[in-house]
């Protein structure tokens, strides 16, 4: 059964080549594009709609649109921003289905943590911490949450995010900065994260500021 999937999934051609091949009727090339971006679009749809079946429909609809737009597509380097942009629009235009209780992002964490190693108490602590952080992300406004999700979940850099949300890089920086400040305010309530409250709270004397004793370490690769 993996006779056709493996060559498509492991295709080393660039998006540009795959788009042109798919335009000429090469279904393997289109399948390669599908396998390349399927999971990312699914995660993005899941983060916005919080409904796994809706996220799967978004994947299908996104690639159906891509297939219809093959003749017009001219990807310079990557098709990812275009696909993500379509997926974001589809996700926000999708109305929640009746009778479906939408789960929060943190519900998806539970499934992932089921396979995590360690003592049950430690796993529970981690799950609680993650739930707390994702709850704070859920509390952000849609624009700011989208930027955070695209950056931290889908791994897009600021330039790619700007392409997806169709606004200047400066706006993306501003939104991410605002989101991180809001998140800092929320996350400071959890003592295990080691985040200080924001400065207005410092002025009230709730917590003494820490002096910088050592330079902040340079950013290492992840």
């Amino acid at each position: 059964m993996k006779t056709q999937r493996e060559p498509a999934a492991g295709d080393s051609r660039t998006d540009h080549d795959l788009v042109y091949a798919a335009r000429d009727g090469d279904t393997i090339a289109f399948d390669a594009l599908f396998y390349r971006y399927r999971d990312g679009i699914f995660r993005l749809g899941l983060a916005i709609t919080k409904d796994p079946s809706a996220a799967e429909e978004i994947v299908v609809d996104t690639f159906a649109r891509a297939h219809r737009a093959l003749a017009r597509l001219e990807p310079d380097s990557s098709l990812r921003p275009w696909l993500y942009r379509v997926a974001v629009n589809l996700s926000y235009n999708r109305r929640p289905r009746k009778g479906v209780v939408l789960s929060s992002l943190d519900d998806a964490v539970d499934e992932a943590l089921a396979n995590e190693e360690g003592s049950p108490s430690r796993v529970a602590e981690k799950a609680e911490l993650r739930r707390f952080v994702l709850g704070a992300v859920d509390a952000l406004g849609p624009k700011h949450r989208l930027v955070v999700v695209l950056h931290y979940l889908n791994g897009l850099n600021l330039t790619e995010i700007a392409e997806v949300v169709d606004c200047p890089v400066g706006t993306v920086k501003s939104r991410l900065h605002y989101a991180l400040r809001r998140l800092r305010t929320h996350l400071a309530a959890h003592p295990e994260l080691g985040i200080e409250p924001t400065r207005p709270l410092l002025a009230t004397g709730l917590r003494a500021p820490k002096p910088i004793t050592a330079p902040v370490p340079l950013e290492g690769g992840e």
Binding site: A8, G25, T27, F30, D31, F34, R38, D39, F42, R43, L46, A47, A55, E56, V59, V60, D61, F63, A64, H67, R68, L105, A108, V109, A112, L113, L129, R130, V133, L134, V137, H151, Y152, L153, G155, N157, K173, S174, L176, H177, L180, R181, L183, R184, L187, A188, L193, G194, I195, E196, R199, L202, P209, K210, I212, P215, V216, L218, E219, E222
Partner: protein
């Protein structure tokens, strides 16, 4: 001049330092600035744990995968072949022509029937009126009581086959019946 700037202008860069992967040179400049600016020092110091917390929280979600096959996309796209069948539009064309012709016929019928009353000669009276006229204006009612009650049944209003008498008049506490039946039953005594 920044009218609405709150705090240092480098604070945004300090928050984004973890997220945006500053280069070594930019980082050194930012840290040098942070040593003299408490806002930026605070942002730089706390931006990093926020970044770590977010990366840790999203890490399990990044492993989420789906098992959708490309066949579902093909189903969504629908059947597509390289050379379209040139006979394919014909049934649709015929059905469209049928719809248009039926619509025209109905329209013409409606317009024709709406014009008809002006061209048709006016009818003198309705059949109902003529029957009433025959019963109560031209016929003389019998004076006997029983016959008076039977009279509407016995007197036939109009024998002409063109006039249809749809009016049924009450007689003796029940509706009258066909006059032919009444005539046939004249030998019997009334109850």
């Amino acid at each position: 001049m920044k009218l609405f700037a709150h705090g240092c202008e480098h604070r945004q860069a300090a928050y984004l330092a973890g997220a945006d992967r500053l280069g070594a040179r930019e980082r050194i400049v930012l840290e040098a600035h942070a040593s003299t600016c408490p806002d930026c020092a605070d942002a730089l110091r706390n931006g990093r744990p926020v970044d770590i917390a977010l990366r840790g929280a999203f890490a399990p979600l990044r492993e989420r995968r789906t098992m959708i096959a490309p066949g579902r996309v093909r189903l969504a796209i629908g059947p597509s072949s390289g050379t379209p069948n040139r006979w394919l539009p014909w049934p649709r064309l015929f059905s469209r022509l049928t719809e248009v012709s039926v619509m025209l016929a109905v329209t013409m019928f409606a317009v024709g029937s709406s014009l008809e009353p002006s061209t048709r000669p006016a009818e003198p009276l309705s059949p109902t009126y003529s029957v009433v006229q025959e019963y109560f204006l031209h016929a003389r009612a019998p004076l006997d009581e029983i016959d008076f009650l039977r009279w509407p049944k016995l007197v036939k209003a109009d024998d002409s086959p063109t006039v249809s008498d749809s009016t049924r008049l009450p007689s003796g506490g029940r509706f009258d019946s066909d006059p032919v039946d009444v005539v046939r039953a004249t030998g019997t005594s009334p109850r």
